[in-house]
Amino acid sequence: MVKPTLEAGALIDGFRLEELIHRGGMSELWRVTRRADDPPMLMKVPLIKEGSDPATIVGFEMEQMIMPRLTGPHVPKFVAAGDFAVQPYIVMERIAGQSLLPRLKELPLPYPEVAALGAKIATALDALHRQHVVHLDIKPSNIVLRPSGEAVLLDYGLSHHAQLPDLMQEEFRVPFGTAPYMSPEQLKGDRTDPRSDQFALGVLLYFFSTGVRPFGEGETLRAMRRRLWRDPEPPRKLKPDYPHWLQEIVLRCLEIEPSWRYPTAAQLAFELGHPDQIKLTQRSERMRRDSFRVVMRRRFNTDLKHTPRKADVTAQLASAPIVAAAIDLGADPSLNEALRVTTRRILATLPAARLACLNVNKVHRLALDTTLDDSGHSKQVDRLVGLRAWAEPLKLDAARFTVHVLEAVDPADAIVDFALANRVDHVLIGARDASLARKLLGSVSAKVAAEASCSVTIVRPPRAD
């Protein structure tokens, strides 16, 4: 099927080709218009010629299957697709904003900026994974920031959808992807693990914060395969001022074994958003790569590793939720004990879940609040201590829980906002007893239950009778 070359002004199914924006090896991108009230749109047209790479066709078929099913701010909105037999194309929303590609000139970026960017991309990955899709080609040119700040992920030609036939898997025995960003498991042909995207994001964060690619360009398959056993230079070796917390995150994303990375992209986003509470392991201190002996064991003692199981995107996300417990430190001890019992129950069934303990410091709308109490103590510190004391009997690993004191006029709003911003899956909150305070102030838990974007469990102490 030889296609005539497209020209500006041509009409395809009502779309007018206005301007050729990009011509790559596999496709052309056109700015198109249809009706006056349409948002800005792009048309992606695959370049399919006699003898062209079958990957071009299969990639485009995958994109035509996956894109219409994706929703939310982290993907370009799908508009229309053209029939393969006539003129294949995909029309989608044109995102105002540039990809991260031009930013390569500015590398390395300041650490806080890298962390903020990483959190946005991890949030977008979480949104994609929740729609059963592993992207498998995360790199600067496939990420655009909306003017409103959200990261948008482009190009689903190499993606895997857990609920649709994977046409790539069977068609090609060689791994497809972008060499510097490809995860070890992807190199071995596993296309089903959402944590592969975390690895690619780790490469991007490493590159953006040091100016150096952790695995080089890796153009040959032989060079690429080295990452199956060879860890990258620790960033702190390249940059002595590199923060421990950022090295902890970046090297954890780049772990060779997927199950040593973060359980979910949401948990990675959470860590990037709270650098002061990251558990610093030996990873954060490393100044040199793993020893020759370790590398040789990885390379030749392959029978130590269990055979990779087929990861299930959906099951994996469900097993690693972020749970937030809202604690009123002044509440009846029996209520806080009941909250602890419920929390323990949930964490015991889900070992990859993490816990955020919240307390709201109610501030007054008008009066000037002081952060110190009458005897000069910091209220903030007291509350953090109180939260840690509440969580202590749960005996959680430091990597599994964080404490947060939120300041707000309305406690319910603060909890709802925290849950939304941190992609919390489940809020646990105590019901205040039928006191005068509830009558006068209304129930915080009822408002949280009504307004939260996630599941909410309202906990009561056991009955006394």
Binding site: P54, I57, E61, F84, L164, P165, Q169
Partner: protein, 259 residues
């Protein structure tokens, strides 16, 4: 009754429900008919094996005959064939069930089964019970190689079959590569026009993929999408009926386990 299909040109039929391997399971068959109608199915396609294993062969065949009289398309399965052909080889439970079935079906039902075609072609679709390369051989499609053999034996863009009682999706690309996929219930799969497809419906009356709910297909010809549907039904009643007829008890037990 035929007038309703005659006055309704094929092009505007968009939702087609496809049922395979009903196997005389009245409870499952009627639950799936209700479900398909509730989901606005406009036409039925029956992919064979109306009898065998289950306790209500007469009712199942009569229901299939009524559907065909109302415009449904139907093909013959190996159990349907075995009713009139004692030499058809089957496992021992199936053989016992068919021997009993012969004594249950009246002449109209037996004539209906004997008169069914092995394949039906409808536009760019082919309906067959087991696979298309040798329809009367009733081989299982258990691998991509089996699926490729079937696809290459037809000109149809999409072949629909049953027989193995486990849902599956196979496709053959323009570059002659096969893909295999175990579908997820309720998620529409686009039948991309650039490749050819073999869609294996699960079974209505005796699912064997570990999920005891009855399995069938809904094809949307306008969107070119197929959806695998699962319908729960009264398994206890179906199993009790099998036991009451003195059929092998394993045929009752396996229903609740989906194997």
């Amino acid at each position: 009754m035929r007038g309703s299909t005659a006055s309704c040109p094929a092009q505007i039929v968009m939702l087609i429900a496809l049922f395979a391997d009903i196997h005389a399971n009245r409870q499952a068959f009627s639950a799936c008919l209700d479900d398909a109608r509730a989901r606005s199915a406009q036409r039925f396609v029956l992919l064979g094996d109306y009898v065998g294993y289950g306790a209500d062969p007469e009712w199942s065949v009569e229901t299939a005959m009524a559907l065909v009289a109302d415009g449904a398309q139907a093909v013959r399965g190996n159990h349907d064939h075995a009713v009139s052909e004692p030499r058809e080889s089957m496992n021992v439970e199936a053989t016992v069930a068919i021997e009993w079935t012969r004594g249950e079906l009246g002449k109209p039902a037996r004539d209906f089964l004997a008169g069914l075609p092995l394949t039906v072609t409808d536009e760019d679709r082919l309906y067959v019970h087991a696979e298309a390369s040798n329809p009367q051989g009733y081989s299982y499609v258990a691998s991509t190689a089996d699926a490729a053999r079937s696809i290459q034996a037809t000109r149809a863009q999409v072949t629909f079959c049953g027989h193995i009682h486990r849902p599956a999706v196979y496709s053959l690309s323009a570059a002659a590569k096969m893909t295999a996929f175990t579908p997820v219930a309720g998620v529409p799969i686009p039948l991309l026009p650039g490749r050819r497809w073999l869609i294996v419906a699960g079974s209505i009356g005796q699912p064997r993929d570990g999920n005891p709910a009855a399995s069938w297909l809904m094809l949307d010809t306008a969107k070119r999408e197929v959806t695998f549907c699962r319908t729960p039904y009264d398994i206890e009643a179906a199993a009790a009926a099998i036991r009451a007829k003195g059929l092998p008890s394993w045929l009752a037990e396996r229903l609740s386990r989906g194997l």
